[in-house]
């Protein structure tokens, strides 16, 4: 049985841990609000972008067989997986859930005989993957210096990857990130961005046909500019959603931790008081039996 002093110390340490988790929860809540706002503010843009691309590509078939970001090319031997995770831990299942879906994807792609390359955005994803797949990770992008993500950050990443695409380093690109749904729910999402998956809405157009657009300059020239931009915006979206999810996950994880800590403090205090009483009773008995013996 631990001594009373030990128990006191333990209660003290749990209390100070609880202080830390409470503080972290509050910090996450403040950051979450900001991250959520910027994630929501960027949604109209990516929706508009999808709208534009659907409008253009529905009536467009690439004339040449050249490599392009819209249709990729016929090869699909090399897959690039991009994993968006956090730079810091203590955020519950946030990193492991999304990494798990990457692992499953790697396994299924390897079974199909494909070459897999991985880019980790955020350190934690790499930490989880490095034991099994370190040779596949071609790059880890450090986001520690970046406090709030700007479009320029996303553009820097996307420029690098587009260059890799045209250097034929991969054929298909998939991104994995946590989509922010609410504080308690983040959905690990897999999205293919090269070639673009176009949601075919052709069937539910209400009479307005998209082939009626005038293009200035030509469709292909517009696409040449639009597609890299779309690529950047998809990455931007993933970064923002992931940042908001991270704070949400951290907030609920820290909330749980604080609650567990107070449960633990209660139990320990109860145990401490009982032990204290037991010691007093024991001492009394000793005194009484000592007095009787005289």
């Amino acid at each position: 049985m631990p001594s009373l002093d030990d128990l006191k110390k333990r209660i003290g340490s749990v209390k100070s841990t609880q202080k830390i988790t409470k503080a972290m929860k509050m910090v996450a809540a403040a950051k979450l609000r900001r991250a959520q706002e910027s994630a929501e503010a960027s949604r109209p843009y990516s929706e508009s972008m999808e709208d534009l691309i659907t409008s253009i590509s529905s009536g467009y078939a690439p004339s040449s067989k050249e490599r392009n970001l819209l249709t990729g090319d016929e090869k699909d031997s090399t897959y690039l997986l991009m994993l968006f995770t956090s730079e810091r831990g203590l955020c519950g299942g946030f990193n492991s859930i999304v990494t798990k879906s990457v692992r499953e994807k790697i396994a299924s792609l390897e079974d199909a005989g494909k070459v897999v390359k991985i880019i980790c955005v955020g350190k934690k994803g790499f930490d989880i993957l490095k034991r099994q797949h370190s040779e596949k990770v071609i790059e880890t992008i450090d986001m520690r210096a970046i406090k709030s993500v700007t479009f320029q950050d996303a553009k820097n990443i996307s420029d690098k990857i587009i260059k890799m695409f045209f250097d034929s380093e991969f054929d298909k690109c998939l991104i994995f990130y946590n989509k922010f749904k609410s504080v308690i729910s983040q959905i690990p999402t897999e999205q293919q961005i090269v070639p673009i998956e176009i949601i075919n809405e052709a069937n539910d157009f209400d009479g307005q046909d998209n082939s009626f657009f005038e293009f200035e300059p030509s469709e292909s020239e517009i696409l040449d500019e639009l597609l890299p931009l779309n690529f950047a915006i998809q990455i931007f979206k993933a970064l923002l959603e992931s940042a908001a999810s991270e704070q949400g996950a951290r907030m609920s994880a820290m909330d749980n931790a604080s609650r567990n800590a107070s449960d633990m403090i209660n139990n320990l205090t109860l145990f401490y008081n009982r032990s204290r009483q037991a010691v007093i009773t024991k001492e009394l008995i000793e005194i009484i039996s000592g007095a009787e013996a005289v």
Binding site: P44, Y45, M49, Q208
Partner: protein
């Protein structure tokens, strides 16, 4: 008053403007274009320049670095990158943009160089 059409201007960070306009002047890649209600459906890209939005009783100016527009069913959608609102636009601002593009130009690959050069040229035209 002329007819109105709905207008929406979005950037990666936020929706900058949403509302009705009677005319919007855009720096199209092949020249400035003014869009009025019932314009034919069009999709085009933009060069660096000024977007002028004429609403019912106000006018607004934006500077845009690049972007795309789509007009259909009396809805104008402007998808912009590098947008700044009116107050900041002066020669210093444009010169700063030009010099940052010039540094990009040195680092850029061959096929991008002409694009960046075009951008610089259209920015220089804005100087007064």
């Amino acid at each position: 008053m002329s007819e109105q059409f709905s207008f929406k201007l979005v950037t990666p960070e936020k929706t900058c403007m949403e509302g009705d306009a009677s005319m919007v002047v855009l720096p199209g890649i092949e020249g400035d274009m003014g869009i009025l209600a019932d314009h034919s459906n069009i999709i085009t890209s933009m060069r660096p320049g000024l977007i002028k939005v004429i609403g019912t009783n106000e006018e607004k100016l934006f500077f845009v670095e690049e972007g795309f527009i789509k007009f259909s069913n009396n809805e104008l959608l402007v998808v912009a990158v590098g947008l700044d609102e009116n107050e900041k636009i002066n020669n210093d601002f444009i010169n700063a943009k030009i010099s940052s593009l010039e540094t990009n130009l040195e680092a850029a690959s061959e096929n991008l160089k002409s694009k960046i050069q075009n951008k610089i040229d259209s920015l220089k035209l804005l100087l007064n």
